[in-house]
Each structure stands twice: as structure tokens, then as C-alpha cells.
Symmetry: C2
Subunit: 257 residues, 2 copies
């Protein structure tokens, strides 16, 4: 299995605190040693950091922990390989351009025996996850338009995600930089932080933060993760089958409960 | 204008020495302060580092200078903005997937007033460079096949590059990880290092290297750059209009002189 981490915020926010917690699980407090990756949106652009090394010891992960890259949407993944070798090309998140936007996808689970109709997007590596992502974009190109809204996308994605979840395990995060779609097949949780901001301590490292020192009263920041990352906050666990479409830190549509 | 840096090698080689030289030109010894980016191929996968900050002071650039990422093909760019704002989405190199491979492109120059036929690949940012790259891949998809060789690609690319160079300035690097195509419109130089290896000193920083300490007698490593990066080696300057197709450190086909 793997672990997912996503962020949706109404103001550019860094992911250092949550990322520091997650990356411990890549070799220190967890077994997800088969590479990691993170994508930060900056406007329509993306910064992509990826490493096939364990996140707990990767020099690139250390940079990302310490360098406050501010973003409204971020998608992160640490890998425990199942399908596909341990190598750079198989590390999530995967990125493709469609309609002049970058699309980013990370997946936790397996959907075995999937058969995909060939299309313009093709996997470069050998994971089922990248193949699922390419198939999803091929179907989107045939079904949706560049003007499709977050609601249109949710209506398109929810039945596909449910279908994958019936055949296997399909916890996923998908974003175009404007919105962040999240689907829970087995395990996913979120927390939305807003004023009055408190403090929090990581579960996986002796690190704490006072959010009121780094935020304004208008900030709304949601973190989504496979397992809660802090030990003194109340995370909202998704039910199996539940999906939530996030935009600027809040849910704009949800379903599947 | 911008500056380009490429590497083609027959064995995984790090770019730390050349990258350290180039990045000085992004704010210290040169005016290319409007962002930078580098892509390293690792098998079919890519590591992409990009920053809209000047390369001479970017923390991400410092990581790449110090962290020996080994690759057989790398493409790097430092930007002095002309067309398109200074922002992440406009920093080269640009990356797209076609036929299950990642394609990487960096450009120095401008090709004004270009009109492109719409196609599946679309620019995300506002540079003419990204639009030229998307057009090139759209034409390749219509003309070539996944089985096309480096020679097929050279035959396809050379007249397009010559046409762009007639309308503007088109120094470029394009790679699919197997080969690296380079076209000189105004300025480009290369150096091929092989046994017996010597020493070299950067032009832009007080840094020197003894290549024999970090290579084997079988290594062949070519560096391509807008301006020579070392002051005690003999670089081979391209003629305007000249193109060279590199593979595993050597030219496999060339023309346009």
C-alpha cells in the first residue's frame, strides 16, 4: 500500500509541517520506502519533486521539508510498491497536460485486470495507477470539454471511481490546480483548519506548530491524508465509497456515502 | 535571451560541475534571472526541477548543484524573459508525454508571429517556446510513429528548425531520453570528454574538476551549452543553421552547416 497527502487552501500555504509528518512513514515510522513524489501548483504551473529513494532519507525530501513552497493545491504520495518496479518512472504523482492545463494524479491501491481502450494518453511506466490515470484522461477528453466545471468533473469521476473500487482498491487524489477530487475506497481522512487556529503535534515526529503564528483570520486550509498526521486534532474520516470535491479549502460537492 | 545546457552520455553521469557554472549566469555572472529549470532522465522517467527565482540564489538550484543526480540525458535552461511573464508556468524545460515517453524541450530565442494549427498538445503558459514545442509534437504525432528512429526524427526536425530560424531565433534542445537533438540558430557549442580525461576550470566560478577522478576509461560525455562553460578546454562551436543529433555522447547524424 501507499499513502496519500493532499492540500486545498484559499491562500498560498506551505506544506512543510504535513510533509514532514508524511515522509517519516517512508522508512522511519512506516514501510513506504519505494519512492515518493509531490506536486505543488503555482498558478497554472507545477513544481514536481520525485525521488525513488525512501522519503525519510531522501535529500530532495529534506529540501521540500525545509523550503516553504506556497501553493493552493498540492498532491503528495509515498510508495510501497505492489505493481511496477521501484524506479523513478513509477513514482506518483503522475502529470499530464490536457486542454492547456496540467493534471495531477496519485493513487493508493490496486485495480487488477483492468482493460483500457487505447487513447492519446499512454503510461510511461508499468504501474496500474498510471494506466488508470491515462484512461481517465482519455475518457475525459471524449466526454467533457475545457469549460467543464468542478461539478461536471465530479459527476464524471464519481461513477468511474466507484467502478474501480468495486474491482480493487481505489483511494485517489486528482487535481487540475483549481479543484482537488478525492475518493476513498478503504481509507482517507481530512481536516479543515480555519480561525481560531490552534496548535498541533505530528504523530510521526517530535514536531509541533502553532497555526495562528503562520496564518491570517481569513485562511482556510484543508489537508487530506490516508491516516491522520497529527495526534491532537479531530480528523474527519471518509466512509468507504465516499468522495469529496475540494476547492479553496472547502467541499463544493460530495457523495457516495 | 536565455542560456541552454544539455548532456548526452554513454553512462549515467552527474551534471553538478556544468550546472554550477551555468547557474552563476542566473544573477551572478549573467543576467538570466527570470527562472531556471532542469530535467534529468532516469531510464524512461524524468526528474524535473524548476524555480522562477534566479538560479544563482535559488535553494532548489543549490540542491541540484550539490546532489549528484546521475543521468544519460539532461536538459537545462536559465531564462531572461522576453515573451511571457516571469512565473513558474513559463520556465523551461517543458515536458509532455507522447507514445508512452516523456519529451523535453528547451529553447533560446524568439520566433514571433508564429501561427499554429490546433492540436492535442496545448501550451499551459504564455511563452512562444512552449507553443513551438506543442506544435512540434502535434506535427510529430501526425507524421512519425512510436517506432521512428533518431534518424527519422532528425529528418523531421531539421527543416522545422530551419524554418523557425528563418523567422526568428531558434536555438533548442529536444530529447526523448534516448537521443538529444540540438539546433543552433545563433549560438551553441559542445564539448565531448573521453579518455584520457583531464582537468577543467569553470569560467563563471572558482570551481575546478579532475575528470579522471570521477570517470572510467569507457565514459563518453558530451556537454552542449550556449556559451562554453570552462576556460581551459576547446569547445566546438556550432555554425548558425547547424544541427547535431546526439546519442550516448556522440553525434549520430548532423547537418545544416
Amino acid at each position: 500500500m501507499c499513502e496519500l497527502l493532499g492540500m486545498s487552501a484559499n491562500t498560498p500555504t506551505d506544506l512543510c509541517f504535513s510533509f514532514t509528518g508524511l515522509t517519516q512513514r517512508g522508512g522511519r515510522t512506516g514501510p513506504h520506502i519505494d519512492g515518493w513524489g509531490v506536486v505543488f501548483y503555482d498558478g497554472r504551473g507545477v513544481r514536481v519533486f520525485r525521488d525513488p529513494l525512501p522519503s525519510a532519507t531522501s535529500p530532495v525530501a529534506r529540501l521540500v521539508q525545509d523550503y516553504p513552497i506556497k501553493s493552493e493545491v498540492a498532491v503528495c504520495h509515498i510508495r510501497q510498491a505492489n505493481v511496477g518496479n521501484v524506479c523513478l518512472v513509477n513514482t506518483h504523482p503522475f502529470v499530464r497536460e490536457l486542454w492547456g492545463r496540467y493534471w495531477v494524479f496519485a493513487h493508493n491501491g490496486q485495480v487488477p485486470d483492468s482493460v483500457f481502450k487505447p487513447g492519446g494518453f499512454q503510461p510511461v511506466g508499468t504501474t496500474d495507477s498510471e494506466a488508470l490515470f491515462c484512461d481517465l484522461l482519455n475518457r475525459a477528453r471524449a466526454t467533457l470539454t475545457p469549460e467543464s466545471t468542478a461539478l461536471d468533473w465530479a459527476r464524471f469521476l464519481a461513477p468511474i471511481a466507484a467502478d474501480h473500487a468495486r474491482k480493487g482498491v481505489f483511494n485517489c487524489l486528482l487535481s487540475n490546480g483549481e479543484w482537488l477530487f478525492s475518493h476513498c475506497s478503504t481509507k482517507l481522512a481530512s481536516i479543515t483548519r480555519r480561525a481560531p487556529f490552534g496548535a498541533a503535534h505530528l504523530r510521526d515526529a517530535e514536531v509541533s506548530i502553532r497555526f495562528d503564528a503562520v496564518t491570517t483570520p481569513h485562511d482556510v486550509v484543508t489537508i487530506i491524508a490516508t491516516e491522520p498526521l497529527t495526534r491532537d486534532e479531530c480528523w474527519d474520516c471518509y466512509a468507504p465509497g465516499e468522495w469529496r470535491m475540494w476547492q479553496r479549502g472547502v467541499v463544493v460537492t460530495a457523495g457516495g456515502q
